[in-house]
Chain length 277, copies 4
Amino acid sequence: MCRWLAYSGSPLPLETFLLQPEHSLIDQSLQSQMGVHTTNGDGFGVGWYDKDQEPGIYHSVSPAWNDRNLKELAKHIRSHLFLAHIRASTGTAIQQTNCHPFRHGQWLWMHNGLIRGFDAVKRELMLAIDPSLYPSIEGSTDTELMFYLAMSLGLSDDPISAVERMAGMIEAVADRHGIKNALQMTIATTDGERLWVFRYSTERRSRSLYYSTDIRTLRELYPDNPRLAGMSEETRLVVSEPLSDLPGVWKEVPESTCGIVQAGEDELRPFRPRRGQ
Amino acid sequence: MCRWLAYSGSPLPLETFLLQPEHSLIDQSLQSQMGVHTTNGDGFGVGWYDKDQEPGIYHSVSPAWNDRNLKELAKHIRSHLFLAHIRASTGTAIQQTNCHPFRHGQWLWMHNGLIRGFDAVKRELMLAIDPSLYPSIEGSTDTELMFYLAMSLGLSDDPISAVERMAGMIEAVADRHGIKNALQMTIATTDGERLWVFRYSTERRSRSLYYSTDIRTLRELYPDNPRLAGMSEETRLVVSEPLSDLPGVWKEVPESTCGIVQAGEDELRPFRPRRGQ
Amino acid sequence: MCRWLAYSGSPLPLETFLLQPEHSLIDQSLQSQMGVHTTNGDGFGVGWYDKDQEPGIYHSVSPAWNDRNLKELAKHIRSHLFLAHIRASTGTAIQQTNCHPFRHGQWLWMHNGLIRGFDAVKRELMLAIDPSLYPSIEGSTDTELMFYLAMSLGLSDDPISAVERMAGMIEAVADRHGIKNALQMTIATTDGERLWVFRYSTERRSRSLYYSTDIRTLRELYPDNPRLAGMSEETRLVVSEPLSDLPGVWKEVPESTCGIVQAGEDELRPFRPRRGQ
Amino acid sequence: MCRWLAYSGSPLPLETFLLQPEHSLIDQSLQSQMGVHTTNGDGFGVGWYDKDQEPGIYHSVSPAWNDRNLKELAKHIRSHLFLAHIRASTGTAIQQTNCHPFRHGQWLWMHNGLIRGFDAVKRELMLAIDPSLYPSIEGSTDTELMFYLAMSLGLSDDPISAVERMAGMIEAVADRHGIKNALQMTIATTDGERLWVFRYSTERRSRSLYYSTDIRTLRELYPDNPRLAGMSEETRLVVSEPLSDLPGVWKEVPESTCGIVQAGEDELRPFRPRRGQ
């Protein structure tokens, strides 16, 4: 099972939530108490926004806890919006082109979950990708395919509708192949302005997804961290698993829900796959 | 431009032709005098046969001249039939799943050359791959696609016919996209018994391909190598570029030709792509 | 905490005890139930003997369970005597030159444990290494230093005496620096003929070390493995942790003991560090 | 032969001089027309200063021209002072801990050249390193040893004197071992404020070293680069080989010279090794 974290708020060094000794994504990965897999050593990735329109990306196939370059970058790169992902492969190769987040133009996309029976449905789903986008696919994961499928279905115009149609199409193709419970997904995607997160599974028993309530809870979580003192009230973390056990800090994204992190009020909406056009 | 070497003959440590200080594939790669690219540091691979039916494979994305594991393996692994390949990427990612030789069951396949306009024709060619083979594709190269295309067209039953049809299909699809001189290829493929090599290009100006005349010429090339003293008369090397400049050692595979290295007499036959059903 | 395995007996593909789905070294590493560290993803190594006098070595910094080259090699390389090691770094860099087993000429050496206060004593211990051996040191681990220290103290002439003197010297230097419980070690070393294993710690609470009683117990452990049917009666495994929980299969090497695996009767002897000349 | 570049001036994305399609360090490395070695694929490193006192470091053992992470970082990281280095190993292992620049506290250090007969003198020179610094050595290169030797001899207080004494000590030890022409070096070192560069060899035939005259010459070199338009007049590049052939752009650092790049007037001074206390 993969783990991921999405941050939006006042600019911070990436290390703040990635590498702190306790309650960080990478520390959590080494412990891996809640995961199905016993470890998450199959690749790491982070994508971040700065002044450039296109986000930066760092992908590594070293275990994150050993990666010296990651430590350097996480200390020196600051960002107001970044995604980080630790991979536990469900079988596809361990290589940089299979590391999340995936990027296309100004968009990033990452995922925890899987398409069941992927070998059976991969070819048909690949055909549904817009021919102009097809050559951009570099790796072999279900996640990258989902990204380009959503992109083909209008991600950049209407992200929620595109992901609804993507999920509907995957379920429809799986149905035709007699595959049950085709989709299990928690997704984060962003254009550098807003962040959309999705929690859904065909069987309605989706993997966990949490968000931080507000900046005061973050300050509670890291009381000794002076960086948090001056943070914007709009700062928000979304995580596949809670980074700590402090009560009151994390709220669960409900089953079959889409969340939008944005300037002003954030939103939660019911999520339902949509078949056909 | 990639470089490759195929060996068939008396069992030898792989290092004999890969790592010898002079006239070896890797030494040649560092010098790279004849290549279009100035170096070949984009990945290395070797596939070898032993008692198992399925060949072994070693793929590395370190430059071959730095790879200590390769040196160890090449010294300790002996084989009577092996393929070795040094990659110069034409743009696709540097990763193990893009390293040659590619393997499917007992078959190996490697290539120097390219499909022109690959981005434009990739999707259509992918569709021509047998759906049962499609999930086996792990990388993003034109070479792996060519392999599974040939496999879909009967490589394991009739290799020459399959490669003729593969080349014909690639040229036909490229024609529809208005791409000229679609194919440039020197290919080696083997099932562990026989070795087929192909030299062809749409424009009939194919990259070079050479074979060693007979064992006596090899002994001439490596006069101090006691290993060659006891070698079978059927020992044969096929190489993308000559490993030395000694006159009389290497013969060029003619333009638009297929060669078969096998027990008994080897063969050279004209090669012509075949279009149609 | 590292894990290791030493095999001596009838020639086998390395994969037999390294990669089998159950009870193998790498499977065990992923589970890592007994270890202090939660995982062992900091590098892998195997050294094996064949017809050459100098053993072959494969070192990798990918987690062993992800390493495709390792799977290929372990399937295709057969050996009558090999050492395998999975590293959990105690702080030094993750790099091939820090992977066990270490090699010098025909000797291999691997280790689980540590020199406490290594930073404080490293320089003085380095000075005790024979100047002619000093340039051979490539990495930064305590294990490699111990190897060259033992080599300087006569490992190739009298391995037990050399390791006794090595341990004595480390403890003496640590004493001078006020370091308690300086040494914690389980070591395997071999010249390709015999295998010496050591279990010792200054505090006399050494990490575990086990050996297989005889070939019948191995057959019991892998009842469906036809390879074991024809194995020599002298086949022996020594492991840092038992590969299975079957009662009667594994015997513990006693505290402060040296074991010798050799043609004829194996031996267990008390081990005691020796100070002075 | 290694290649390096040191930049001091208005903050720029690292890519400006590292990855531009023409006249960049990495492009030059692929071409490698002036080098003794035919390529420089043995590791890459960059160290840069930002608001933190300790510089950031990125070390990679992939060939620089293939390293996607490097491309991302070089695009997104901006710095007013950075060092970049492409390594051609003279024999020591290809690993991150052998990549330049080396860092200790706020200092960076990189080098092109070698200590002749390094195996013979390494141990004695290691002994001259301050015991408190000794444990910081992680790799096996002559360059890292030179750095810690200079550090032991007062680099942080008086860099020029420390390098003079370092060079004198190396030559003295080499003399005792009968090694001629012991030292060949072009070095760059910085504390984040000033940059010191050295060109020296025992035989007085030192490898090349060049500096850019002033910002107008840089603008001439990259006429279409809008970034250069607003650059500070104090902007300065020092390079092991010129990045272009434009006449008048580069000035050679004279034989046996030390240069200081600093606020105000830069300086060139004669450099002479110093032996004795």
